[in-house]
Symmetry: C2
Subunit: 338 residues, 2 copies
């Protein structure tokens, strides 16, 4: 599928959906829309393991494609009205539009009417199934070993760690699968539930349902975590995933330069050791688990030597192996979760 990815004003650092789809999706990305970076190319930003594509100003400059994908997720998940002309043009050109916003394109009168007129599909991947319900507390009955990526904050690399661990496990011949819990993961994997959009009473149940759905078909499941257990806004989702997944092992994800909660700068991050304690002590009354390894996003560190040093210090704080799975490899971390 040939897709254009909308990431106005945010590519690449604040466009994690765009970068995730570029890096892990099997889409053919024909262009990225970012009016602030227009004229440059994806390759100009030196992102590891990301294919190149032109960056353009608007949908008018995009070569032929099958879909426009909204590749940014603003806090609150709203629709930015400045994107409307691009979405309109995409529909008029016969492209499907794929979004993971809290705001549903299908509920937008203009888009729904236009899509109908032009015979294209609006895919709101964040719209939850209608038959969700509360957890039964039986996730631990699945055959697969269950690993959950947990974080010190949003945007520290939980989705990346999830995808890299699954990839590394498959390379080693392990039958592994990702359990996507966020819009980017769902876009990449083509299944899953964006649990931040479900009725709060059903978060644990939505995760339980996914793990049970996949858990007898694979030997290893890596559940994508969300947010952080001490996030002022998103902790409900994090906690529901932690108990719904009933993971056998946890991988703690962190960003090497993060000291305060992103977008909530009044809040300092607790120590890494404190996070380890919190996740373990909170999870264990439902299902005994421990943090066995860590991943560190070292994107903002100057070179491999500095990154290696940071990764080692992070591993020491956790008491297990650590890596930056994008910069280095995931072998030791995989070993710890198997």
């Amino acid at each position: 599928m040939r897709v254009a990815i909308l990431a106005h004003g945010k590519f690449p650092d604040r466009a994690k959906t765009a970068v995730g789809v570029l890096r892990y999706g099997d889409h053919d990305v024909v262009a990225v829309l970012d009016r602030e970076a227009a004229g440059q190319r994806v390759a100009d930003f030196g992102l590891r393991a990301v294919p190149d594509a032109p960056i353009v100003e608007s949908m008018d400059e995009v070569p032929e494609c099958d879909a426009l994908l909204i590749g940014i997720a603003p806090i609150g998940g709203g629709f930015d009205e400045s994107w409307r002309p691009d979405v309109r043009t995409a529909i008029e050109r016969g492209c499907d539009v794929i979004a993971g916003l809290h705001y549903f394109l299908n509920d937008d009168e203009e888009f729904a009417r236009l899509a109908d007129d032009h015979g294209v599909e609006l895919r709101d991947v964040r719209r939850p199934p209608e038959d969700l319900t509360v957890a039964e507390g039986v996730t631990d009955g699945v055959a697969a070993e269950v690993v959950l990526t947990v974080g010190t904050d949003c945007s520290v690399g939980k989705m990346t760690a999830t995808m890299e661990l699954v990839e590394a496990a498959r390379e080693r011949g392990v039958d592994a699968a990702a359990v996507p819990t966020g819009q980017t993961g769902v876009l990449i994997e083509g299944w899953g539930i964006a649990v931040d959009r479900v009725v709060s009473d059903f978060v644990n149940g939505a995760v339980e349902r996914m793990v049970r759905e996949a858990g007898d078909d694979h030997d290893l499941l890596v559940v994508e975590g969300q947010g952080s257990i001490v996030h002022p806004a998103y902790s409900a989702v994090t906690c529901g995933i932690l108990h719904g997944a009933m993971a056998d092992r946890l991988v703690l994800c962190h960003d090497a330069t993060r000291e305060r909660i992103h977008g909530y700068e009044a809040f300092e991050l607790p120590s890494v050791a404190n996070y380890v304690d919190l996740y373990e002590s909170l999870a264990t009354p439902v299902h005994e688990t421990e943090v066995v390894a860590g991943t560190l996003n070292t994107r903002d560190l100057a070179d491999d030597a500095a990154a290696r040093e940071a990764v080692d210090a992070f591993g020491d704080a956790i008491g297990g192996p650590a890596t930056d799975p994008v910069r280095f490899d995931a072998d030791d971390v995989l070993e710890a979760v198997l």
Copy 2:
């Protein structure tokens, strides 16, 4: 308002909404519908501080009234089809119908059409406001002192503790208000948000919004907690309330005879000391707080002496005053939260 309360097969022990409205609401309850207890009276069950009313088999036997209120909340919040004839009869008799289910009466074609025909209102109190969004992390800016009731499980007395504390504070001349977060609290208080029904990303934000709404008009807010932080199904909601409320003090609520999670008997409750640690250590990175007191539901204990002993042991485990606010008074606990 004269109301009938539907509680088929569950009055009084598994009908906490019915009992809550009887005890704390200012409704005039003309009858309770419970086909299994029909012929008895509310007074026969020896519930403390609950007014009497007849228990009848169906809506056909209910004296004149203004509304039928659904007073039970099954796990999952569905609508039990065996209730349909009573709801139908109520509407046909010109009564409003008030419910706090996940299933919305307004979305039921038959009820919506009937209500329209008979000019009555269907009030789904669990339906959240449409403009909710993520928390900003600023709840601690309100003028009032904020207290949150937290629990060791569902149905251990958080709503009761909330109402009793507010009542005791008012009797002492403190300008106090409850912040209702569940369907029963919302029914009793006439405002609030049933946060278990909101989009999970907005739980913390919904609580923040309520606390900010009420926080500058009162000196003391008591936020009604939900579930438990280690509940296999409901922990997401609990965690979101904990961080959204940014409470200055916590009151831990427990049931004297509860050893396993209600409805999830495979899960043992952790120790009281473990709950105190978990709530405090999880809340503190967002807003420093501590468990200062406890309430114990001693309904299933034989007499006041046994209850007093259990309350004292619970207080010792918490390291603060404890009471059963229905059986005894709330003075010492109130003192600790002021």
